[in-house]
Symmetry: C2
Subunit: 736 residues, 2 copies
């Protein structure tokens, strides 16, 4: 998984931002980090990548199991107490795939990715979407652009319906699982996904193997489960998929896709798109293929036949612990997945080997008798690709213990050259950038925080750019989903981070057979230099959280970012009201009717209902209280002097519960698995984050009563947190 | 010529706007216009188009001469006193054209446009750019996007130089003559222009003959003279190119292109672009061809060989007069060109036949004994395509008489279905939209002003949209160049308008062999309905100016639009200062240096000099005086009661001189032929207008002293005009 465009990397850097000092770093800590840096060996990353990416290693494959055991042995050899935990998860694999253009001419899609190295590809899964249902559907084809809700609004304005038809959507703009979900909501029979060359093919740069971008035959595999409902094994929501666990019947599993879905290359898509008639697609819908993009429906008629083996597969999580000597019951967890769609040199091995070298280097520090203050847990997750299964099932299995013991979860995934991107819990914002300032960029003679700041100053806009120029603390991005932090952050309420470098790799191999070691070392991270940089940044973050007497969390960045989100939600309502009012005026005045183009039907979606004014005052009051309490807490936390043990324990306990206090047992409306009320993957974006999701999505989807009750729920959480923060600040005044 | 994208049509509608009442229309006038409407016969447009577009009819062709004589006979038959005026103009035609890719592989460009009807195309000119020099140049190829100055700034940031090389630029974003001009300024040896499918080919819609857009083999012909210096015959600036006129030597003619230029199809461009190496082009530079756009230079190496026949050709202007009975020495001039690059059904015949039918219908009004109050002059210009030669040479030949007698010049050119677009002298703004409100759109049940308003309300933005919604007067656009109004408006200072419908045609045949009657009636204006609508609007404008006792000009729209331009010029300086300051900060802080991508040289153009604060106070004061005087004038002009003859003559005289008072004999810096100080084609945009061009271009090009002296010059003109307007207002108070 993982996001993958340069835009994404920069976009993540463009959130709100303020000036906050992180905790002081002691001389002792600095010396520890220097020894850590000195222990890192770049050559290990390459060696392990060759080993782990040698063959296809999806969940359930022999190579996947072998990789897990290989890593477990290594962790064990470095001194970690290591176990391999096994789960039994639903993982369908294709038995039959056929896509036929029946009219106006017959064309059989090849559905093949020619490989460059047959031995290295032996046993690879073909192009398919995991959790598509079996099916055999025939119908006229409709091009739906990215297949997100706005695209169907555009179709409605043109009077084009997809009911009883088969849609073809290009990858991009949302998580892929959204596309069949929205298509099914509109009555489509089937869904074809394809990789347009504009998005990650020749439009972006030279294609593999000459360059790094997707060749015409490249296919993006991937899960189409309804992950924004819940990730993990579709049959075991809320429960670990251990041997003998209670399982839903497949027909009752709500996250399985409703209609057959198949991903294809643009070589296979070209004849289909060429066969479409109907209106010319709007300019923003047109991709990079040499044709006139038309919407249809028809005259292209297609048949899609899919059949899967619905067996359970074993998933192997490697869990390696280094026990803390002072606070063994406080865990700093660090994870990356190890399963891939095919060879997965970049996704996930580039992040995995950085994590392994980080773990090895930390283990070397124990040779001098050093032991971490808190317990370190290094994890290599299986089955992330079909939908975060390895991490989710582990988190669900150990939920109670994790709620009691987990301090933080630090994730990584694919890594490449470029800019440090950091997302996660805003209480960790100063900590992340303080650590980043001490890591040099491998290519340019500046630290990696300076590069991130440069990107914001040069490519950012408005107040973000001004803040970057003014030298204030850089932002971290709120997290949606797409990698293994989701069960920790959004389900269990554990403070989380996602770290990685990117934006300068030529990332066109995503989820294809071309994500090979050759590709990675030529187009993503030559020499594994950014892999080492990732180990340096993540290792520092781990060590600083592990070793701090008082946890290095800060509340002001969190309070301020929530204040910003509350303003956005307010603006959202205002904008929707203004847009609706404008549309009403355009219709009443006849201006809409005066711009109907030749051959356009002039049909219009119904005018939406008026957008009422919502009472956001409780939220605004709670946010103000939180800002005041956060300022008091941070001032007290930054004070000098020793803190009595019991006060420190109380405050650390408060900070460990901090993220949990932003969620509740009931979770978000309609998706109780997602409990966090500040960060969630969008119900209609997937990877893309929705902040204050309960309130925001209720407004977006025009459920006004729900919006007001979500405001009250969120306000209650924030008010309670403000009260606890004040108490914690008072405890901190007990210093000597 | 003529602009040609939907964006252009809408863009023209997005200028400033206010609420102004035009003059009252008498019952007698309305009755006259109804008789005019009733006389219009749609079938004539189709018949004449078949006749005029039957064969290629470029300047100097047998068909061009035959068309002129045919039209002259018709005008004469309708009762116009008609002459054909002949000029002798420089019109090079190709003797040899060859373009060869020498490396890395050899490819000979075909340089052919296959025709669909050999008889109708007999004698057509091949694809070429008029006023390219002869030449035989060889060099590495560099892709320069649109080839406008900003593109060379981007190249400079990447350390890529075109000196000693051959550039390939896509059509679009500026007038084509700008491309070789800027390339030559940067030392290029030659210039290739091509039509990218993104701009008017398959990306936009189905290609000809199935659809209206440019097929892969379509070539855009056109002039590359340096028209922003002066239009017309390159050898006779300021003077009519009559038999025996003094002519410059070719080597002294400053508007001839400096380096060989050749236009090609994208079928011919594809192998050239595929052969380019070097960095991947920025996203905004990438077109619709199925390849990775790279900049070069090389390894593609090309040879361009061009040789022309530099003979003079005869140009035939048809001039048809209907003498005024009250004010024969006040002329209302109405023109359209008749020459084409090939068959030119749309460009220019669609506008020409609308003008002819308008003239015929007006002539029928004289059967009842009616005579126009002022003299009407209908003109069919030759040699517009190579650079407005027919109109310019006529205007220069008759300059003295025109300055004394011309009241207004109303132009049209290519016409298609869609929205009414009106540009020109802002004193005519209320008049135009008052007339438009009385013409029904042929396709939708609303008047053509309502359609234009709808477009602004639906597709416009910000305050323009609000104004459209609020029902205030619609704007007309300031004119740059691209059709025959230029010598009248910007050289002689005669109030001018340019009228036409467009935005809903599939306009991919521009200047190609595919601009045929078949194309026009299928994809531009089926049934010639918008041709008739153009005749209705333009005929009304002509009749209202011709018949008004007091000329129906208003000063407030002019004053307000100038005030808006003055603000823009102020903002321009501020924006340039802010951009320069930001760039300085990005460099000093090292942020620029922190975002150098892999493989990017990290070279930077030198930091520009600081942008000084300029004294715009004289301009602001003059604008305020003009606004006050304009309000006084319009109030007085709208008053009731009869005006004594001498007062009316004085005020009409003032209004006839109005546009002249916005110019001076010295003209613009470096281009004295362009005398108007409010409207001019941009020196580096060509067709695109620069308002307040003396001041604006001095600022844009960082000539600060010139900017301040231009401010003083312009302020003087505006102050004088304010004084004259006050006097005229006083004369108007002499009503009974």
């Amino acid at each position: 998984m993982v996001r993958r465009s340069a835009v994404g990397w920069l976009g993540m850097a463009c959130a709100a931002m303020a000036a906050h000092a992180g905790p002081e770093i002691s001389g002792e800590q600095r010396a520890l980090e220097e020894r850590f840096d000195a222990a890192l060996q770049r050559s290990n990353l390459g060696e392990w990548m060759e080993r782990l990416a040698a063959r296809p290693h999806h969940v359930g494959s022999a190579q996947g199991r072998s990789n897990a055991l290989f890593m477990a042995e290594l962790f064990e050899s470095w001194g970690y107490e290591t176990r391999v935990e096994e789960f039994r998860v639903l993982f369908p694999t294709p038995k039959r795939r056929a896509l036929t253009l029946l009219a106006p001419e017959r064309f059989e899609a090849r559905l093949e990715e020619p490989v460059l190295d047959a031995a290295a590809s032996a046993g690879k899964l073909p192009g398919y979407n995991a959790y598509s249902p079996d099916g055999d559907v025939t119908g006229p084809l409709v091009y739906v652009n990215y297949g997100i809700p706005e695209d169907y609004e555009e179709l409605a304005r043109r009077g084009i319906d997809v009911a009883g038809r088969i849609v073809i959507a290009r990858y991009g703009a949302s998580w892929r699982g959204i596309k069949p979900k929205v298509a099914a909501e509109h009555g489509a029979l089937g869904c074809i996904l394809y990789s347009d060359p504009r998005d990650d093919g020749y439009f972006q740069g030279e294609v593999y193997p000459e360059g790094g971008y997707r060749p015409d035959v490249g296919v993006q595999r991937g899960s189409v489960a309804d992950m924004p409902l819940y990730p993990g094994d579709p049959l075991t929501p809320f429960e670990g998929a251990v041997e003998g666990a209670a399982r839903l019947q497949r027909e009752d599993a709500p996250t399985l896709a409703r209609i057959p879905v198949l991903p294809i290359s643009h070589a296979d898509a070209l004849p289909l798109l060429q066969a479409l008639g109907g209106p010319v697609a709007p300019e923003a819908w047109r991709g990079g293929l040499p044709l006139t993009y038309r919407i249809g429906p028809g005259p292209a008629e297609v048949r899609l036949q899919l059949e899967f083996d619905w067996s359970l597969a074993p998933a192997y999580d490697v869990i390696a612990r280094l026990e803390g000597h002072e606070e063994p019951e406080q865990w700093v967890i660090r994870g990356n997945h190890h399963d891939a769609w095919v060879n997965g040199a970049t996704d996930p091995v580039s992040g995995m080997v950085a994590l392994m070298e980080e773990a090895r280097a930390i283990a070397t520090l124990t040779r001098d008798g050093w032991r971490p203050r808190r317990t370190l847990v290094y994890a290599a997750w299986d089955a992330e690709e079909p939908g975060l299964l390895g991490s989710t099932e582990w988190a669900e299995t150990h939920a109670e213990e994790l709620r009691a013991k987990a301090v933080v979860y630090v994730n990584s995934d694919s890594n490449s050259r470029g800019y440090l991107s950091a997302g996660g819990s805003h209480a960790l914002e100063p900590l992340v950038w303080d650590a980043a300032r001490e890591v040099q960029d491998p290519r340019l003679g500046v630290d990696v925080a300076a590069r991130a700041r440069g990107a914001l100053a040069v490519f950012g806009a408005g107040s973000d750019r001004e803040r970057a120029l003014a030298g204030r603390t850089l932002p971290i991005a709120p997290l949606g989903s797409g990698s293994d932090y989701t069960p920790f952050l959004q389900h269990l309420g554990i403070a989380s981070l996602n770290l990685g470098f990117g934006g300068e790799g030529d990332y066109g191999q995503y989820h294809s057979a071309y994500d090979t070691v050759d590709h990675h070392v030529r187009f993503m991270d030559p020499g594994h230099e950014y892999g080492v940089a990732l180990a340096r940044v993540a290792g520092r973050v781990v060590l600083r959280i592990s070793e701090a007497e008082l946890l290095p969390f800060r509340l002001e960045p969190l309070a301020e970012v929530i204040a910003g989100y509350a303003e956005e939600v307010d603006d959202l309502g205002k904008r929707m009201r203004a847009e609706r009012e404008l549309e009403r005026r355009l219709r009443e005045t006849g201006h809409r009717a005066a711009v109907v183009g030749p051959g356009e039907p002039g049909l219009l979606a119904p005018l939406p209902e008026p957008v009422p004014h919502l009472n956001l005052a409780p939220l605004q009051n709670a946010v103000e209280a939180l800002i005041a309490a956060a300022a008091a807490f941070d001032a007290a936390a930054g004070g000098a002097g020793d803190l009595p043990r019991d006060a420190r324990d109380d405050v650390n306990g408060f900070l460990m519960r901090l993220e949990r206090s932003l969620g509740d047992e009931g979770g978000l409306p309609g998706r109780p698995w997602f409990r966090h009320h500040v960060y969630a993957p969008g119900f209609y974006t997937g990877y893309g984050v929705k902040t204050l999701p309960g309130v925001r999505e209720a407004i977006e989807q025009r459920r006004w009563e729900e919006a007001e009750s979500e405001v009250l729920k969120l306000s209650g959480l924030l008010s309670r947190l403000a009260g606890e923060a004040e108490q914690a600040a008072a405890r901190l005044s007990d210093r000597d």
